[in-house]
């Protein structure tokens, strides 16, 4: 848990405060993303938490302990820290980089080795291949992974991340974000995350703190930021394509349609006839492990042919998506493959349901109506 109480930072030379009277509470196990234009004080705020920058005023509590009353080095040992340019130690191997904090804490050699190997696996780098490499032998994405592994090495309950995925290309960034969210799901760390990218904020944050000129403008969930921005600044910062960003935020399971009839591949043709009589058309075909095989359009078949040996008429879906994809991913696939229905499958291929274009549309407009800003978006 991180709590900032009336925190301010003044610099002698500059007029005004870099951060003024900031109050922020990051709940245990949640990600708080601080976002804002450059110079808004977000990085300064982050660095005050581990006292890289000393606050001029106010109190900061990490897990209910005032950071100003602790030795800064001991404090930092308990807080994972990832910075934009990663700052891997160039003269240390990947292994030594990851082992830095455990070594400082005086862990036993074997414990350090196990932990470092475990972490490298968690961030998706094989220890055999990468442990002995030096940072200059790694790609940007791999460096970021090592940076994250180093920050998590001593299993700190709190992590500070300053644009941790800023220095890599968009594809790698997306991949790193997804992997990090997966890790976070298991680890449940309390995280303060700084970015200037509102899309990243929406994707990563349980809560978003929008900052401007050293002040906190709005601190809320991504949904509320998107649907009810507090003032014009937030609205502008979030962008006019808020409706599309909402799609990025929502997972496919929010509007998953599970009502379509499912049949197993060895179903008797009588069952199909009954379904056809009930007026069902689109039927999903699964194998005996509930994995997706394809679909059949009953009406067409019943019109022209008999249902004996119906498995001949099974058609494949041109595309499927994972259950943890966003609605935006679903939309993109729909546009790409020119379809209106896309089946959702779990990680191991089990069928979960269907997302439908019209359902996405109506869901979004409903959300906007309840927040009374639909006319603004249209305008």
């Amino acid at each position: 848990m991180i709590r900032l109480k009336n925190v301010s930072k003044y610099y002698k030379k500059k007029e005004g405060a870099a951060v003024s009277n900031l109050n922020l509470h990051v709940e245990e196990g949640k990600i708080c993303v601080m976002v804002g234009p450059s110079g808004c004080g977000k990085t300064t705020t982050l660095k005050m938490i581990n006292r890289i920058i000393e606050p001029s005023d106010g109190n900061i509590y990490v897990n209910d302990k005032n950071v100003m009353e602790q030795n800064p080095n001991e404090l930092r040992l308990k807080i994972g820290y990832v910075i934009q340019k990663i700052g891997l130690f160039p003269h240390y191997t990947v292994y030594e980089n990851v082992a830095t904090v455990p070594k400082l804490l005086g862990w036993k050699e074997e414990k350090i080795r196990n932990r470092a190997n475990e972490l490298l696996k968690i961030v998706g780098l094989s220890p055999q291949e990468y442990a002995k490499k030096y940072p200059n032998q790694l790609s940007g994405g791999q460096k970021q992974r090592v940076g994250v592994a180093r920050a998590m090495a001593a299993n700190p309950p709190v992590m500070l991340m300053d644009e941790p995925f800023g220095a890599v290309d968009p594809i790698t960034r997306n991949q790193l974000q997804n992997e990090f969210l997966k890790i976070q799901k298991k680890m449940k760390k309390t995280i303060c995350f700084v970015t200037h990218d509102i899309d990243e904020a929406i994707k990563m944050g349980d809560k978003i703190a929008i900052m401007c000129d050293g002040k906190l403008v709005q601190y809320d969930t991504p949904e509320n930021i998107l649907f009810s921005p507090k003032n014009e600044f937030v609205e502008e910062f979030v962008g006019s394509d808020r409706a599309l960003k909402v799609l990025n935020l929502l997972k496919v399971d929010t509007i998953l349609d599970t009502s379509l009839p499912k049949i197993s591949i060895d179903t008797d043709s009588d069952v199909l006839k009954k379904l056809a009589l009930k007026g069902q058309d689109h039927v999903v075909v699964l194998d005996d492990e509930e994995k997706l095989v394809g679909y059949i359009k009953l009406r067409k078949i019943v019109e022209r042919r008999s249902l004996e040996k119906w498995d001949k008429y099974i058609k494949r879906y041109v595309s499927t998506i994972d259950e943890d994809s966003s609605l935006k991913n679903a939309m993109v696939s729909m546009l790409q493959f020119d379809v209106f229905n896309i089946p959702v499958i779990s990680e191991n291929g089990v069928y979960k349901g269907i997302v439908n274009f019209n359902m996405i549309k109506s869901y979004i407009s409903e959300e906007y109506e309840t927040n009374n800003i639909v006319d603004k978006v249209v305008g």
Partner: protein, 213 residues
């Protein structure tokens, strides 16, 4: 005397002078390292940082004084003999090492230092685990420059009684024995090259694993 061959000079007389020269160089170089590296480190610490450009400027000016003058100055202060020679040589070798120590530490990417502090290293740990190892190649380059300077200046230090290869050179000049001068000068050059190459190779060996990017 006129008939003595270069071979004889090399085998019979030179070894003694080479050893004396080497002794001068190694003692002064080591003292220079012991003074210059800590001074350089001190000049990069927060509280002294503001003086660093001034101190380096003073040292720079001192380096501009010809080696002959340095030797002459110490003749006045400390008299003749090996001790004043070593003091003069040490002073002459200080600047490149101190300058490179400062440059080496200040050139480390700030984010590496910030990361080191951020993971919880104390100032001392940052210095020993991060700053010094990363500055080492540049510090060694400074020692390399310094060693070559000292080898050359040590020959002149014979003027205040240092001995070494300078003795052969000046003997040749004062007694019209060009062979002595030639052998002394060549050996001096060879020694400078050997020092230079030694530190160059040492640097490559120490840093072959990583590059600072």
């Amino acid at each position: 005397m006129e008939t003595i061959s270069i071979f004889d000079i090399l085998t019979k007389e030179a070894p003694e002078h080479i050893l004396q020269h080497l002794k001068l160089v190694l003692i002064s170089l080591n003292i220079a390292i012991l003074i210059a590296v800590p001074t350089g480190v001190l000049l990069t610490r927060k509280s002294f940082k503001k003086y660093s450009s001034k101190v380096i400027a003073v040292l720079n000016t001192a380096q501009g004084v010809p080696s002959l003058a340095i030797v002459a100055i110490f003749l006045n202060i400390l008299g003749i003999g090996i001790v004043p020679s070593i003091v003069a040589l040490t002073l002459y070798g200080l600047l490149p090492i101190a300058q490179n120590t400062v440059a080496g530490i200040n050139n480390i990417n700030y984010e590496v230092i910030e990361a080191a502090k951020g993971v919880g290293m104390s100032d001392k740990q940052v210095l020993y685990k991060i700053e010094l190892p990363l500055a080492l190649p540049i510090i060694i380059a400074g020692i390399q420059t310094s060693s070559v300077l000292i080898v050359g200046t040590a020959a002149i230090a014979e003027l205040i009684g240092a001995g070494g290869l300078g003795r052969m050179i000046f003997l040749g000049i004062t007694h019209f024995l060009p062979k002595y001068t030639l052998v002394g000068a060549l050996l001096c050059a060879v020694m400078a090259i050997i020092f230079d190459q030694f530190f160059r190779i040492l640097n490559i060996k120490l840093t072959r694993n990583y590059k600072q990017t």
